[in-house]
């Protein structure tokens, strides 16, 4: 492909090819401080292609695909090329990664132990992880937590944090402008701005740790903390995993151990400030 770049994020290496210069340039800038892949060999190929030859030049329209693709993936405009590249990497992980159980979750680490947060898009898990990552925790990732099938450790996948809508201002107030990506206005999920994780998150991206607490956050409700039964936790985590079925028995064993060993709570909060206080309190009590 005309423009290409290789990136290593946590344990996975991506080769990203693009018909256009802009997405690759944006990636190169934001991932500049990530270590270069040791050799050229990538786990996954990501391709950003024109939806038709014509749409390369005229109203450019990006079809996201690669080793693993979705026939009905929605096309994106070139103005959102950076997001397309990020989604392309997520797509390959979600459909093709087999070396860990993938949990659609954010995770942060402190004192050698990991806090995992999972929930639907909009639950606040990304924002919470990003904020904790600015306040003394090590950000491990905002999209996927990688659960090791043998040791039960959580491994990081610290891509750029994808901040949506109101979360953009919250984090822009905490993180230096040099770590913020361009504003991508009017995407399918509203406005998006990427945040480069802090240096420690990148520097220690091959370092896993054992999980100590699982939270199911829910933004926009009066503060509340609820216990969650193990059966429900198991079921919600299978739904939050994109490769649980593909892994078969090892995935079942790893998830069973995770559910048995890691205390879990569902938490509601009306604002970011309250959420942080609540999480820090639960971490003191439970982890």
């Amino acid at each position: 492909m005309k423009h290409a770049l290789s990136l290593k994020i946590g344990p996975a290496t991506f080769r990203i090819g693009s018909a256009w210069r802009q997405p690759v340039e944006a990636l190169a800038r934001l991932y500049a401080d990530y270590p270069a892949p040791a050799d050229e060999i990538a786990d996954f190929t990501v391709r950003l292609e024109p939806t038709s030859p014509f749409r390369r030049w005229f109203r450019p329209s990006i079809f996201i695909t690669g080793d693993h693709g979705l026939a009905d993936a929605a096309p994106m405009s070139l103005a959102h090329g950076l997001l397309a590249a990020e989604m392309g990497m997520n797509l390959q992980m979600a459909l093709g990664w087999r070396r860990h159980l993938l949990l659609h979750a954010s995770s942060v680490e402190k004192g050698g132990r990991v806090l995992v947060m999972t929930g639907e898009s909009g639950s606040g898990k990304s924002t919470l992880a990003a904020q904790l990552g600015e306040r003394g925790w090590r950000l491990m990732g905002d999209e996927f937590a990688l659960l090791d099938l043998e040791t039960g450790a959580i491994f990081p996948f610290p891509r750029l944090v994808s901040l949506k809508n109101r979360a953009i201002d919250v984090l822009a107030a905490e993180a230096p402008p040099g770590r913020m990506g361009p504003l991508l206005a009017g995407t399918a999920k509203g406005d998006i701005r990427h945040l480069v994780p802090r240096g420690d998150a990148v520097g220690r991206m091959s370092e896993g740790a054992l999980p100590a607490l699982l939270l199911f956050p829910r933004f926009g409700h009066a503060t509340d903390v609820r216990a969650v039964g193990q059966g429900e936790i198991f079921m919600r985590l299978t739904q939050a995993s994109t490769n649980y079925v593909a892994l078969g028995e090892p995935g079942f064993a790893a998830l069973t151990r995770f559910v048995r060993n890691v205390p879990a709570r569902a938490i509601d909060f009306p604002s970011g400030g309250e959420a942080i206080a609540l999480v820090e309190r639960l971490w003191e009590d439970l982890a």
Partner: protein, 329 residues
């Protein structure tokens, strides 16, 4: 760059030792795109490969094992659903190869479950499958009617809870196709795999695979089908195959498949001009896993329809599809 790199690696897996990082990236992307990564991983086996490649090949092997396990379970479920009907359940393609432990099944990607049943049993088979939880995929009345009137199979069905597709065939090629392989003979000579499951006899397995690759399809992803044929030809009696191919009206196609399999995966062989055009179509894949030679691909797409249907019917079909916004993949 063309898929020749992949073909060479399958033929001579020791040769991958010479690849650099770029070469590996190209090989892996091509093998994934052609759904041959599991086969490639098994062919490479324990040979030394770069550190970063090892886990990729291990994952591919594990995926292939899971595919096979899932496919066999699906075949078992279909056999169970059809047990009361007294018709043999003849497995076709990947599931048959996996169930019988054939070399063609090793590392093979297995998509849908394909079975062959007698045409007169179709109604009962359909009812039994619906009773066991399968349901229709297509909700378009034109497609449904088209399948029922002209195709060699029922419209595809999917199992409501397991999300796996089944294709129920009553013959090999669409009823409108130029060739008319003898499905009754295929059923009559099918061989048992287990108590409930059957597969085609060795010569028919080749004829069936050849019919799909060369007499029907537009050859997209055909390298895997040709690999199947290459494996299925191993140890087969050429005279018996020729006789069987004659019965199915596929002599020309079987001979061409033999030439192509030998040229691409085997010891080599002389190719005709037409063989070379087909080979060019089969190898149209670049180092990023993209399909190349779009025009050639489109020509083969049109040709596949031309072979399937008489001209007036083809025109009507393409017009209907076009009005519905269908584009060839």
């Amino acid at each position: 760059m063309s898929a020749r790199l992949l073909v060479r690696a399958l033929r001579d897996p020791g040769g991958v030792a010479a690849l650099d990082g770029r070469g590996w990236n190209s090989l892996i992307a091509m093998a994934r795109a052609e759904r041959l990564i599991g086969t490639l991983a098994l062919r490479i086996g324990e040979r030394p490969v770069p550190m970063a490649v090892r886990p990729i090949l291990m994952d591919a092997r594990a995926d292939a094992e899971r595919e096979a396990r899932q496919a066999l379970w699906e075949a078992d479920r279909a056999a169970e659903a059809l047990a009361g009907l007294g018709v043999p359940v003849v497995l076709l393609k990947g599931t048959a190869y996996a169930a019988a432990g054939l070399s063609a099944g090793q590392g093979r990607f297995i998509g849908d479950l394909d079975i062959l049943v007698p045409r007169e049993a179709m109604k009962d088979v359909e009812q039994a499958l619906i009773g066991a939880g399968w349901e229709w995929v297509k909700d378009d009345p034109y497609d449904d009617a088209y399948y029922r009137q002209w195709m060699h199979e029922l419209p595809p069905m999917i199992h409501a809870s397991r999300d796996r597709m089944i294709d129920v065939h009553h013959t090999v090629l669409p009823l409108t196709a130029r060739q008319t392989p003898d499905a009754a003979a295929m059923l009559a000579d099918a061989v048992p795999i287990t108590n409930e499951l059957y597969m085609l006899c060795p010569e028919d397995r080749v004829c069936h695979a050849v019919a799909h690759l060369l007499a029907d399809g537009d050859l997209a992803g055909g390298l895997r089908n040709l690999w199947d044929i290459y494996c299925l030809l191993d140890g087969i009696d050429p005279a018996a195959l020729e006789a069987r191919a004659a019965r199915h009206g596929l002599v020309r196609h079987v001979r061409q498949a033999q030439r192509l399999a030998a040229a691409l995966y085997g010891a080599g062989g002389r190719l005709t001009l037409w063989d070379r055009i087909v080979a060019a179509r089969l190898l149209a894949r670049d180092g990023w896993g993209r399909e190349r030679r779009k025009l050639l691909g489109f020509a083969f797409y049109v040709r596949s329809h031309w072979l399937r249907m008489p001209p007036v019917m083809l025109a009507r079909h393409l017009l209907t599809k076009w009005r519905k916004g269908h584009r060839p993949a």
